[in-house]
């Protein structure tokens, strides 16, 4: 089937023995009607344990992670994941606790969540929080539902139909707003790369339910008009939703709440160092101002004296958004990270994240074009447009693989053509930054002198994590093969 676990093994090999049945065995059909019993076992692999271990070890070597080297995916904050956090999340008291074992038996977990919630509220300058959302987009959805609930209660829902969305916003923002039935109104960016205030004003009226703002935005620029924007939205009775995915740029020195925002989500798998796991799990807690607190998801964690409990008694709550209380194991990691760093460490995070980004920007904008040539925050964008007739940003990214580094995000944000979005984070050394910059500068030279090198990249040289040459995405889309089949 192509390098999968299904391609190895033999009939009747097993990866794990199970204990023998220690109660009298009953006839299956005495227990379940025959027609509800499966006729044929599912066609799962039949492999010995050593084969399982070797197969997944081999697969792991066909991956590049933060542990492998610089991983400057813009908007993803691929920072180092402290290993102590892995150990702490695996402590039996956390890993083997059942969510329904009752408050009395769960004081440690509830305390950790309560305190993490308090910390995140202070970090964001907000009043109340829910830790339930399992990722950023889940937090956005929660935030949109909170707005909807509020306007339902004030009987304004019929006219509060619009969510304003800067065109630089992450794709999850419009998707989340649309899932709640809001009409998405794009707001263009201006020549500065910031929200176009004139365009924003043109849309301001009582049909506005709110705006979803990412700050710093996805061009890596701080919305310098943020105070005016929040005021304008509030003046027409709307809410300001702050996508806090980029909090790494300002953590420890500035707070969304102090900019006048009403709702903010945090990506714990970005700013707060929890591992990305090949795509997840993350956590996307949502914090709000007092006015929206009654609508937060239940259960909420409350503290009475020294006791913590789960509280479902919030009649105006939007309800549950997660089966239980969110990605608890991720919350443990973020808690440990915040405690280790403290105020001074969190400030050092934004200092060095922004410093590293600007250092790379200055070095690279001598060779690539920076569409917004000014100080950036934790990330910045470059474009290859106009550099070559035949070479695209995709080719540049693939060529970087030959140099043994992970490319940046590409083709996002959508408003810059042939864009590269680069976010080094604070956890890379100057030597790595220089290696990355040197590689990209070299690729620019190759673009002029030997473009074929880029077009054919990657070359499957022995590079960490690389195992194939360029893959045919068009073919995968035309005739999707999404599972293996058996003879």
């Amino acid at each position: 089937m192509g390098n999968t676990i299904f391609d190895i093994g033999e009939e009747n090999r097993i990866g794990l023995r199970l204990p023998a049945l220690d109660v009298p065995e009953r006839n299956l059909t005495e227990l379940i009607p025959a027609e509800l019993i499966r006729k044929e076992d599912p066609k799962l692999p039949q492999v010995s344990q050593v084969e399982v271990v070797r197969h997944y070890t081999r697969l792991s070597r066909m991956n590049y992670g933060v542990d492998s080297g610089i991983y400057p995916l813009g908007s993803c904050t691929m920072k180092y994941n402290p290993r102590i956090n892995e150990d702490l999340a695996r402590l039996p008291g956390f890993a083997h606790a059942h969510p329904l074992q009752g408050d009395e038996l769960s004081q440690g977990a509830l305390k950790l969540m309560y305190e993490l919630g308090e910390y995140l509220c202070v970090i964001g300058g907000m009043d109340a929080i829910s830790l339930q959302p399992a990722a950023g987009a889940h937090g956005e959805l929660t935030g949109m539902l909170l707005i909807k609930k509020h306007f339902e209660r004030t009987k304004e829902l019929h006219r509060r139909t619009k969510i304003l969305l800067p065109d630089s916003a992450h794709g999850t923002n419009p998707a989340s707003a649309a899932m709640c039935g809001f009409e998405v109104v794009p707001i263009p960016s201006d020549a500065r790369g910031l929200v176009d205030l004139q365009a924003l004003k043109a849309h301001l009226d009582e049909s506005v339910a709110g705006i979803m703002l990412t700050n710093p935005n996805t061009l890596g620029l701080f919305e310098t008009d943020i105070l005016e924007i929040t005021k304008l939205i509030h003046d027409v009775g709307g809410f300001v939703y702050y996508d806090g995915a980029n909090l790494n740029a300002i953590v420890g020195r500035a707070r969304p709440g102090d900019m006048g925002v009403d709702i903010v989500h945090y990506n714990l798998h970005k700013t707060f160092s929890t591992p990305h796991g090949g795509g997840g799990p993350g956590a996307g807690p949502v914090a709000v101002v007092k006015k929206l607190e009654p609508y937060l998801p239940v259960p909420r964690i409350v503290k009475n004296g020294n006791r913590y409990s789960l509280d479902y008694e919030y009649p105006h709550s939007i309800g549950k958004i997660h089966s239980f209380y969110g990605n608890f194991g991720v919350l443990v990691r973020a808690y440990a990270y915040i405690r280790m760093m403290g105020d001074e460490g969190l400030k050092a995070v934004s200092t060095n994240a922004v410093l590293n980004a600007n250092y790379l920007r200055v070095r690279l904008s001598k060779v690539y074009k920076a569409p917004y040539d000014r100080l950036c925050m934790h990330e910045f964008v470059l474009t290859t447009k106009g550099m070559s007739e035949e070479i695209r940003t995709l080719d540049v990214a693939k060529r970087l693989i030959d140099y043994g580094v992970h490319p940046s995000s590409i083709y996002f944000p959508l408003i810059v053509p042939e864009v590269m979005m680069i976010e080094p984070t604070e956890t890379v050394s100057k030597e790595e930054l220089d290696y990355f910059a040197d590689a990209l500068i070299k690729v620019a030279q190759e673009m002029r002198e030997n473009p074929q090198l880029l077009k054919e990249a990657p070359h499957a040289v022995p590079v960490y994590g690389a195992s194939v040459r360029r893959l045919d995405e068009v073919r995968a889309a035309k005739e999707p093969i999404l599972r293996g089949h058996f003879p």
Binding site: I32, A97, H98, L145, G171
Partner: protein, 447 residues
């Protein structure tokens, strides 16, 4: 200034980099933040602490929590105390799996894309469906997304929901349904604990978006899915499953299910106080372009070698924005990797054996309890590894007595308001021994 182990830059590094940028102080990097905002800043009031100190601090908190290493657990209700093979934690801890992200650069992500493809294949085999995505957040949100997909395809807003659905999932469903403006209509259960088909009257079936059922349901009872799809016709049959049970039970795909979802925690994922979990989502190929979530698809590279890429991305928010099939981006990938390794390790016949262990042990205990005076099985229908016991005494009192003897005795159903009287939901996995069960019964008897 404190040096931090996660931040390589020294003051000297900073100085050199500032010089390259043409600045003299790091604070100058933040001039775009309005001074007013900076002035309002308030710190946490937390000093940095070392790895050693945080380890002590957080370990203390963990020790204030009960867990299933301390207590013998008969607690289920959607999260189960199954054995997790040792290799899983070791393999998922490999940095190349743990610290990478969504496989945006396929050539550096063949490991992730390959296991995703394996996972999709295994879920299809388990459920007898044609296509599966690579994970949703959890069972509750997977169910909600299934409902949204059915609404988008059928254009209809009424959904029948079995009253025996896990109430935690049901509450997620309600939140999403309200958000989108859908109507949920209860379908009651009978004395067997199964869906009351008599309630599926033709009038109820008009203009129906879908029927949502769970098997084994919240009470542990196995539903008979046969004929349901024929009854509801082009409305969607959405079935929520416990994946372990499918080692033994006829899969929903054989009964015409349109979407199969489930909570994947039983597949080698720790209980972890209810998260991170794993949402399973599978459907039919007809609907593949309308389904939410990431998928890996097979292709070839420039040399014709088999490789994998993210498939059908045009469904997703990063391309389609407000017209996307879902807003999901970050998912539960690492948990899906746990499940993949788990299914590979248990293997074709192992999953069947495991399911049978669960079934046999649960029936052993159920029978013993049912013989005790003051206890009876609440439902007469077939069950898998969980069952409801009707008790004369208050379950809260029984649970207290059990806890004193080292048991997490099950779930008191009182607060769920699904059943009258006193009811205790008891789950039995392969981890429970005959000795533990006999002691459990003895404590119940004396309580």
């Amino acid at each position: 200034m404190t040096a931090f182990e996660f931040i390589p830059n020294t003051l000297e590094d900073q100085r050199k980099m500032l010089a390259e940028i043409g600045l003299s102080d790091v604070e100058e990097l933040f001039v775009d933040i309005p001074a007013e905002v900076l002035k309002r800043f308030k710190p946490l009031g937390l000093k940095p602490i070392s790895e050693l100190e945080v380890s002590q601090l957080v370990s203390r908190m963990a020790s204030e929590n009960a867990h299933t290493g301390q207590y013998v657990s008969f607690l289920g209700g959607g999260i189960y105390d199954h054995y997790v093979p040792a290799i899983i934690s070791h393999l998922i801890s490999r940095g190349e799996f743990l610290t990478c992200y969504t496989p945006y650069q396929a050539e550096l992500s063949q490991g992730t894309l390959t296991w995703m493809f394996e996972f999709q294949t295994m879920i299809c085999e388990l459920t007898a469906m044609e296509v599966a995505n690579s994970s949703m957040y959890d069972g509750g949100s997977a169910l909600a997304e299934a409902m949204l997909m059915a609404k988008n395809i059928t254009g209809r807003k009424r959904f029948l929901v079995s009253k025996s659905l896990n109430p935690h999932h049901r509450r997620c469903l309600e939140t999403y349904a309200w958000g989108v403006g859908l109507e949920l209509i209860d379908v009651p259960f009978t004395e067997t604990g199964q869906l009351d088909r008599a309630a599926l009257q033709p009038g109820e079936l008009d203009d129906l978006g879908g029927l949502i059922v769970q098997t084994p349901n919240f009470f542990g009872v196995i539903e008979d899915l046969s004929g349901l799809k024929e009854l509801i016709k082009d409305a969607f049959l959405i079935v929520s499953v416990n994946p372990i049970s499918l080692g033994l039970l006829a899969p929903p795909g054989l009964f015409g299910a349109d979407i199969v979802v489930g909570e994947g925690q039983p597949l080698g994922i720790p209980q972890s106080f209810g998260g991170p979990l794993l949402g399973i989502f599978a459907t039919r190929m007809n609907y593949v372009r309308r389904m939410p979530g990431r998928m890996s698809g097979r292709t070839v590279d420039a040399d014709g070698r088999v490789g994998y890429v993210m498939a059908l991305q045009t469904r997703e928010q990063h391309i389609r924005r407000e017209k996307a099939t879902s807003n999901i981006c970050t998912n539960q990938a690492l948990m899906a990797l746990c499940a993949t390794i788990y299914m590979a390790t248990l293997g074709r016949h192992g999953l069947r054996k495991l399911a049978e262990l669960n079934l046999q042990k649960a029936h052993y205990l159920a029978e013993k309890i049912a013989k005790l005076p003051g206890f009876a099985l609440r439902f007469s229908g077939p069950f898998f590894n969980e069952f409801v016991v009707r008790t004369r005494k208050k379950p809260s009192r029984l649970l207290k007595a059990l806890r004193d003897e080292g048991f997490l005795g099950g779930l008191d159903l009182e607060s769920y308001e699904l059943l009258d009287g006193n009811n205790l939901l008891v789950a039995v996995t392969e981890k429970r021994t005959r000795d533990e069960m006999d002691r459990f019964v003895k404590v119940l008897k004396g309580a």
